[in-house]
């Protein structure tokens, strides 16, 4: 019997070791893997690459990741905290101890999908000529110029969701979906934290991430 459910958060994070790259889903608190991210703060893996839309939620959930200098690099579309005072991650960006790859959000999403879809690289009009595509190949198609962007994969992905079943199928509520499908596709081990995890299958047309892209499912309290 296929059963991708894991018993606890330790099992969910098994295999995350030094040097791992991890995608962290979420936008505005929806689809955010709060439990997994908090737990990541408590294990010992170092030299991590974190791939997420914004550093902020990760740092809020697991400040120790940055305080203990366990993150080597962030690949994000936003590295700014809300307050006026710089956070630990901002100070590390400033002093160069934390590497930053800043990616326009649409390119960020598309690059992860590409990794999952077997597309090693694609051309995009976004950010052409800007600081964020300096040094990248530019090429003309039908009279317009485009930048070459490469796929962005990772070893793990953490994804928050409303529902999952034992086959790893995932269904979202509201705007939880955001980067979830592309991160699940683009990672080797996609780990879902879901509020409702069932023996019963999710109806086939309600599935937003087919279980083929999902390796582990963790039930988390609905309160989180």
């Amino acid at each position: 019997m296929i059963d991708k459910r894991v018993a606890n958060v330790e099992e969910a994070l098994a295999g995350i070791t030094d040097g791992a790259s991890i995608m962290l889903c979420g936008f505005g608190g929806t689809g955010t893997p709060f439990v997994l991210t908090t737990a990541l703060g408590k294990i010992s893996a170092r030299n991590l690459t974190l791939v997420s839309n914004s550093v902020r939620h990760t740092e809020d959930c697991a400040p120790s990741l940055f305080e203990d200098k366990r993150v080597a690099k962030v690949i994000v579309s936003a590295a700014r905290s809300r307050g006026r005072e710089p956070t630990t991650s901002e100070r590390q960006l400033e002093d160069g101890t934390l590497q930053l790859e800043l990616v326009p959000q649409g390119t960020f999403a598309e690059r992860m999908r590409a990794a999952g879809a077997g597309i090693p690289a694609f051309y995009t009009p976004t950010a052409l000529g800007t600081k964020l595509t300096e040094g990248k190949e530019v090429r003309e198609f039908n009279g317009r110029q485009y930048v070459l962007e490469t796929a962005l994969g990772a070893d793990f992905a953490f994804i928050g969701a409303d529902r999952a079943d034992r086959w790893g199928n995932v269904s979202f509520r509201g705007t939880q979906e955001n980067f979830g499908p592309s991160m699940a596709m683009g990672s080797c081990i996609a780990i879902i934290e879901a509020k409702h995890v069932t023996d019963e299958p999710i109806p086939p047309r309600e599935v937003d991430i087919p279980g083929i892209f999902v390796q582990r499912v963790l039930q988390v309290p609905t309160e989180s």
Binding site: A78, A79, E90, A127, D162, R173, T175, E177
Partner: protein, 225 residues
């Protein structure tokens, strides 16, 4: 200056008046999202949010609040009739693929070629944030900027050359400020509306590059908001 510039709500109101029935419109963070409050009530406009919404409705009241429903500004929102939800990758396919009719973006600077700088004010010790700004600047059919006409220190935001890192090049079609509505044309900045009571000379003095005036240049007036 002889007159008081429009406030943020009034600038947003003016920008909203150019939105039309059936358009798909993405509103950037800050002043742009205020435009939704002032869109013509008799026209059905579909507001797009890059986190996966087509058909964003009003901000949720405390009773309506559902923490699974947020917009690109992380506000709790409602959905309008006809709304759909997708993932971010699909939402950006809409943007990049040219399916968004209008985006209203905030701006630090716009130059006469329509280059826009709006993502990095180079604040020391604060990390950078680009979000979806570059995707919107290059992907939307019409890119319109809402911003103050000048900085607090009086330096202009309509400039000859951007000092801040650019978001996109040759992308801006129109700028709404507290003093004017300015189109970007092959000739450069062309004012199409000037704030009631403001002279053309005064407007030019607040503008960092040559300003032309449309033949039918009108008067910019808004309700008190």
């Amino acid at each position: 200056m002889s007159v008081t510039p429009l406030n943020r709500n009034q600038i947003a109101w003016r920008a909203a008046q150019d939105l039309k029935e059936g358009q798909y419109v993405n509103l950037g963070l800050g002043m742009p999202v205020l435009c939704a409050n002032y869109a013509p009530a008799d026209q059905e406009i579909m507001f797009h949010s890059e986190n996966g919404i087509v058909g964003v409705g009003p901000v949720a009241t405390s009773e309506q609040e559902d923490s699974d429903f947020v917009d690109a500004g992380s506000q709790f929102i409602t959905l309008n009739s006809g709304a759909s939800l997708s993932d971010s990758t699909h939402a950006f396919a809409m943007i990049r693929g040219g399916h968004i009719d209008v985006t209203l973006l905030g701006g630090f600077e716009v130059n006469p070629e329509g280059d826009l700088a709006n993502w990095d004010a180079m604040v020391p010790n604060k990390g950078p944030l680009v979000g979806g700004a570059m995707d919107l600047a290059s992907g939307a059919k019409s890119v319109r900027v809402v911003m103050a006409h000048s900085n607090r220190d009086g330096t202009p935001r309509l400039v000859e050359k951007c000092r801040y890192p650019e978001t996109g090049f040759g992308c801006v079609n129109r700028v709404y400020t507290g003093l004017a509505v300015v189109d970007i044309t092959p000739d450069g900045f062309v004012a199409v509306e000037v704030l009631d009571g403001l002279s053309r000379e005064e407007l030019q003095a607040q503008t960092g590059a040559p300003l032309f005036f449309a033949d039918d240049c009108g008067v910019l007036t808004t309700p008190d908001l």
